[in-house]
């Protein structure tokens, strides 16, 4: 497609497909742009996948990489195996972006909401990534990337249902990494602070601590290239969460943060 007088061309390497679970999220879209640009074939999984039509056109026109879309409701645990079989191949990299912040005050009064938050952020991603990891272990290679959250580092009144599910997810990823490090499978935990996405629409966020989706996607791609294990985004959140974790509980329980 490109001509050497018009553009600098690099070595052409064959890339294994990247599966993005939750491709309709702002982070998922930004990830597709980055991995597409780097020449990876893309598999995009989401609910009501027809909403991805214009994104698929865009990715195809931009990067000329193959782009496939697959329907997935991650809460359908029984259907996860069939979903993976239907992909036709085991992707080289799988990134799970699915998440649900929910409404904490409502969820406190509703077991239905609580259940949905816990299953969407923890149970369902753990089941799906667990099965993918098993298949990657059998193959002897692969990379699993989970988007958790700094909210999982310590429970706070304002979002502890979401936070506790993310805490579970973080621990799951940590254990999975521990188990698979001897089997050629990489597991990476991403812990964003604030990101300017649909999830945080309508909230007024501090600009210095708030990342843009494109920035997050670039950082994830770089972190994978460097073989990182746990990544805070923006990096300053590592320090912030360190401090927050160090506050003694007697004091912490009285704080409003």
């Amino acid at each position: 497609m490109t001509d050497p007088t018009l553009a600098q061309t690099g070595l052409v390497v064959r890339r294994e497909p990247v599966l993005i679970i939750g491709a309709l999220s702002d982070i998922g879209r930004a990830l597709a742009r980055v991995y597409g640009r780097e020449g990876y074939p893309l598999l995009l999984a989401a609910r009501r996948v027809e909403r991805l039509t214009s994104d698929i056109q865009d990715l195809t026109l931009r990067f000329g990489v193959p782009v496939g879309a697959v329907e997935l409701d991650i809460l359908d645990l029984a259907g996860q195996g069939a979903f993976l079989d239907a992909l036709g191949c085991l992707p080289g990299t799988v990134i799970c972006v699915v998440g649900l912040l929910g409404c904490q005050p409502e969820a406190e009064k509703s077991w239905i909401q609580t259940d949905l938050i816990l299953r969407t952020n923890y149970v369902a991603p753990a089941c799906l990534l667990g099965e993918i990891a098993n298949r990657m272990q059998a193959r002897g290679s692969g990379c699993v990337i989970g988007i958790s959250s700094v909210a999982g580092d310590r429970g706070r009144a304002s979002n502890y249902l979401y936070g506790s599910a993310k805490a579970g997810f973080t621990a799951f990823l940590s254990g999975l990494r521990n188990r698979l490090s001897r089997h050629g499978v990489k597991v990476m935990t991403i812990k964003p602070g604030f990101i300017d996405t649909r999830m945080t629409r309508g909230m007024t966020l501090p600009p210095f601590l708030t990342a843009q989706p494109a920035e997050v996607a670039e950082a994830i791609w770089k972190a994978q290239a460097h073989g990182r294990d746990v990544v805070y985004l923006r990096p300053v959140w590592r320090l912030i969460m360190l401090i927050i974790r160090l506050i003694p509980e007697v004091l912490f329980k009285k704080l409003e943060i």
Binding site: D3, T5, L6, S54, R201
Partner: protein
């Protein structure tokens, strides 16, 4: 207020006016339709590169930056359809390597397609190719009545003409279809000519009529016989045969550069004397002759410095860009240059460019800026002296039948607006037909009573 936005302090590129705006950030076309439907009024905003208050509305400002998908491209004729928030920098990074170039480009690549359409942007090739709007085949417009209308030269023709150069006041542009043009290389054959006074400069423009691109940097602070001395740059896309074999293609820079101006400079940094010294240096440094240069250096020299607007300090700056008609153009320019030189607070960037005829009559944008003549653009640090100087310049411009560029303006009054834009009533009528309550409004439209 709608649930879907947050309050953010915004300004135009000149930063002379800040406003706390309710910012909406739709990700999909459906979001754009829904988000804007509930607000009392709104205006769309691209990359915030208009200089004044054109992309500000405190009730709702709808950012199109995440509506930036490519939707169709036909490599047979170069027709591209994309969402309106696509950045020109993205377009260049994607299409220059494939041998395509935008038909018109302004002096920065950090603008959106929607922004170029709404301002009917012009470039260094206006004398040959006209403005951006002439290359737009069609677009989808979300109007104030909630209806999305497809506009072209055969469909919703009035709305088509009102939207080109219409500063976003007809609605939110959702998609744009435009024709790209073929290039053989990413290089420009540039020729630099030194002109000792205005007559030489204007003669150089005449001589450059057949050059695809031309622009002059002009030393506004030179007085007496040297008034209007300039460096004129002419350019054309280099054919493959003009590029030595083995030349590496230039590195594409799609992101604003790391080299940024990190802080506001103190207000005194740019004063008459520093600017005069800079101008003299620049003028004598320019090397006449020809060179093969990267298209990015030719078209976007200032993009190499991120946030260069911060050179002007916290109070920001204003750009005065006017056009004066060809007939009597020399006299008008001399009068403007005299005023600027006497004011002594001109900028280190003053640009002169010849505009060509603007397509067949009755077809261009109703509020489009270009007309056959000369356009002069000067930056001033925001100050009371600069404001009164600009008012004096207004008289010269209005008297000769010229006008000001709305994309740059931050201070014109309604009288100047109505004296210099003849189709205002027609424009307002077209807006009202698709937006009975005139919900599409901006600080600019209120200031100049559009």
């Amino acid at each position: 207020m709608s649930e879907s936005g947050a309050s953010v302090r915004l300004s135009g590129w000149g930063r002379s006016r800040m406003a706390l705006c309710h910012l909406l950030r739709p990700v999909t076309r459906d979001d754009a339709v829904n988000d804007g439907s509930a607000t009392s009024s709104l205006i769309a905003r691209g990359n915030g590169r208009s200089y004044g208050d054109a992309s500000l509305n405190t009730a709702a400002t709808l950012s199109t930056l995440r509506l930036d998908r490519l939707l169709a491209f036909d490599p047979a004729d170069g027709l591209l359809t994309a969402e309106a928030g696509l950045l020109l920098s993205d377009l260049l990074a994607l299409f220059v390597p494939r041998g395509w170039f935008p038909p018109v480009t302004p002096g920065t690549r950090f603008v959106t397609l929607g922004g170029m359409l709404a301002t009917d942007a012009h470039g260094k090739n206006h004398h040959v190719d006209g403005s951006f709007g002439e290359h737009v085949r069609q677009f989808d417009l979300l109007c104030g009545d909630g209806v999305v209308r497809r506009c072209s030269r055969t469909q919703n023709v009035d709305l088509f003409r009102a939207t080109i150069g219409g500063m976003g006041l007809t609605g939110t542009v959702l998609t744009v279809t435009l024709a790209l043009r073929r290039i053989e290389t990413p290089w420009i054959l540039q020729e630099t000519v030194r002109c000792r006074d205005l007559d030489e400069t204007l003669a150089a423009f005449e001589a450059a009529r057949s050059s695809p691109y031309s622009v002059a940097w002009i030393d506004c602070l030179a007085k007496g016989g040297g008034r209007g001395r300039a460096l004129m740059y002419r350019g054309e896309h280099a054919p493959a045969a003009a590029v030595p074999t083995g030349t590496r293609a230039p590195r594409l820079v799609a992101e604003p550069p790391r080299l940024r101006v990190p802080v506001d400079f103190p207000g005194w940094f740019l004063n008459g004397r520093t600017v005069q010294a800079f101008n003299a240096l620049y003028y004598h440094h320019g090397r006449p002759g020809s060179a093969l240069i990267d298209y990015q250096r030719f078209f976007y020299p200032l993009d190499a410095i991120g946030d260069w607007n911060r050179f002007y300090g916290r109070r920001g700056f204003m750009q005065y860009q006017c056009v004066v008609p060809t007939a009597g153009g020399r006299g008008s320019l001399l009068r403007l240059l005299d005023l600027i030189a006497a004011g002594g607070s001109g900028s280190f960037l003053a640009v002169l460019k010849q505009f060509g005829a603007c397509g067949p009559p009755g077809q261009g944008g109703l509020l489009s800026f270009p007309m056959a003549g000369y356009t002069l653009a000067v930056d001033f640090p925001t100050s009371a002296a600069a404001l009164s100087l600009m008012r004096e310049m207004d008289h010269v411009v209005a008297d000769c039948g010229g006008r000001l560029y709305l994309a740059k303006d931050a201070r014109m009054d309604p009288a100047m607006m109505s004296a210099t834009y003849p189709d205002l009533d027609l424009f307002r009528g077209i807006c009202r037909a698709v937006d009975p309550r005139r919900r599409y409004r901006s600080l600019l439209s209120e200031r100049v009573a559009l």
